[in-house]
């Protein structure tokens, strides 16, 4: 009976972790890939100084947010969602949705940033070659995106890796409630504090396997990637 509950809780925690981080990354990709692609294209060029300024500002902003401390994100989300906060009426605090929002804020800059640099690294040469071969701007843009696909996929994997191993943010916004908002990372924190080392270690092993799988995927991707 006890064994059974132990297993059930572990499964519950693992699935919640995967669901929260997975959802955040999927939404993050839907937002981040188009934005990253857009910023990766140097379409502003020297044409208008104002647009160039906006371009530079946006890119610095993305870079800053890529290194955002999760705890701070958690705090901000907490303050927004708390009963007296501006979005308190949504009643999302201490729900998986709040955790998704927290991780989304973390993950979007990562996806934008990595996609942006992947696109930018091939943009000028590939675009120009395509144009020279008779492509329209749209056809050239498609080819650029196709050529940066490894980088785009990398951004998703890196983002998922960051999300699944994050503790501070979801701890604050999710509240680490048993059976409801307790994930692999937050569970490890509590179980260790309570001295339940077998539980903590089991969860740690699961997290480690997930991290390994992510890195395996990344490595395979890089090995298969183009030689440039």
């Amino acid at each position: 009976m006890v064994e059974d509950l132990f297993l059930k809780e572990i499964i519950n925690i693992t699935i919640l972790s995967l669901r929260v981080s997975g959802t955040a990354v999927i939404i993050g990709a839907v937002i981040g890939i188009p934005v990253g692609t857009y910023l990766g294209f140097r379409q502003f060029k020297l044409k208008r100084t104002i647009m160039r300024l906006v371009d530079v500002m946006l890119k610095s902003l993305v870079n800053t947010f890529m290194g955002l401390p999760p705890v701070v994100v958690g705090l901000v989300v907490y303050l927004l969602l708390t009963a007296s906060g501006p979005l308190g009426w949504l009643g999302l605090l201490y729900t998986p949705a709040a955790m998704v929002i927290t991780q989304l804020i973390m993950v979007v800059p990562i996806i934008i940033g990595v996609t942006m640099s992947a696109v930018a690294s091939v943009e000028s040469s590939i675009r120009e070659r395509a144009i020279s071969l008779g492509a329209t701007e749209n056809q050239a843009a498609w080819l650029v995106l196709r050529e940066s696909r490894v980088g785009v996929l990398t951004s998703i994997i890196v983002a998922f890796g960051a999300a699944i191993s994050e503790v501070g943010g979801i701890m604050i916004s999710g509240g680490n409630i048993r059976w409801l908002t307790r994930t692999l990372t937050t569970a490890i924190v509590v179980e260790t504090e309570l001295g339940n080392y077998s539980m903590a270690l089991t969860l740690g092993a699961i997290l480690l396997s997930i991290a390994f799988a992510i890195n395996l995927a990344l490595t395979v991707l890089q090995l298969k990637g183009p030689r440039r």
């Binding site: 040469s125 020279s132 071969l133 030689r227 440039r228």
Partner: protein
């Protein structure tokens, strides 16, 4: 018939003059070679002719019609083939790389595309390379694929920026053979740059000598170099 005409074409990059009042004609079906030391502006000139770059001042005419930089340049560019000095191939098979310029034009059937791609592959002696990923090719193989990309659309004007720079002697003669035949049989107008004087002499009907962005001499190889063959760079 004049195929290409440049009239006082100048190009500046942030105030630095790279081409100064370049004026010359290239006749239809002519094999025209540009020579000049590093940094003299050869690549810039070819990029302007490929409509990738807009001159700071001056005019360009194709078949007597002035290039209008406010208009869509795609239709005009589709009649021109160019091989870049720095080879850029796409992360796909050799076949798909060469088929790309045909596919984006969208006017040929799948069978016709295959026939043409296989033909050019044969021309540049890369038979059997069609399924190989283009990014795994050697420098010389890649350069010939780039040439095949430019040839497959059967352009009226071919711009070649040191197309044999990475090739061994055998492949240099293969490529020269392809270009000669194209020029003689299909009357393709060719503008090529090279640092190889022997190649210039072998191929060119006329040569232009570019230095510091200015045309210093223009004419047949003998006219340009007959009296100053000690030229060094």
């Amino acid at each position: 018939m004049i195929a290409v005409e440049l009239l006082n074409v100048s190009k500046e990059y942030s105030g630095r003059v790279v081409l100064r009042n370049v004026t010359f004609n290239v006749h239809e079906g002519e094999f025209f070679v540009l020579v000049g030391p590093n940094g003299s502006g050869k690549t810039t000139l070819l990029r302007i002719l490929d409509l990738l770059e807009e001159p700071t001042s001056g005019k360009i005419f194709f078949d007597g019609e002035e290039v209008d930089y406010y208009k869509d340049r795609v239709p005009l560019r589709r009649k021109i083939g160019m091989v870049f000095q720095q080879t850029v191939l796409f992360d796909m098979s050799v076949y798909d790389n060469i088929a790309y310029p045909l596919r984006i034009r969208g006017s040929l059937s799948k069978d016709e595309i295959e026939r043409r791609v296989m033909n050019v592959l044969e021309d540049v002696e890369l038979r059997g390379f069609d399924r190989k990923n283009a990014l795994t090719l050697s420098g010389g193989e890649a350069q010939r694929v780039a040439l095949a990309q430019a040839l497959v659309t059967e352009p009226r004007l071919l711009l070649l920026d040191e197309p044999t720079a990475n090739l061994d002697p055998k492949n240099v003669s293969i490529v020269e053979g392809v270009l000669s035949r194209l020029n003689k049989e299909r009357k393709t107008t060719i503008i090529m740059t090279t640092h190889n004087m022997f190649q210039a002499e072998r191929l060119a009907q006329r040569i232009a000598l570019l230095n510091e962005g200015e045309i210093r001499a223009i004419g047949t190889f003998r006219e340009v170099f007959g009296y100053q063959s000690q030229l060094t760079w």
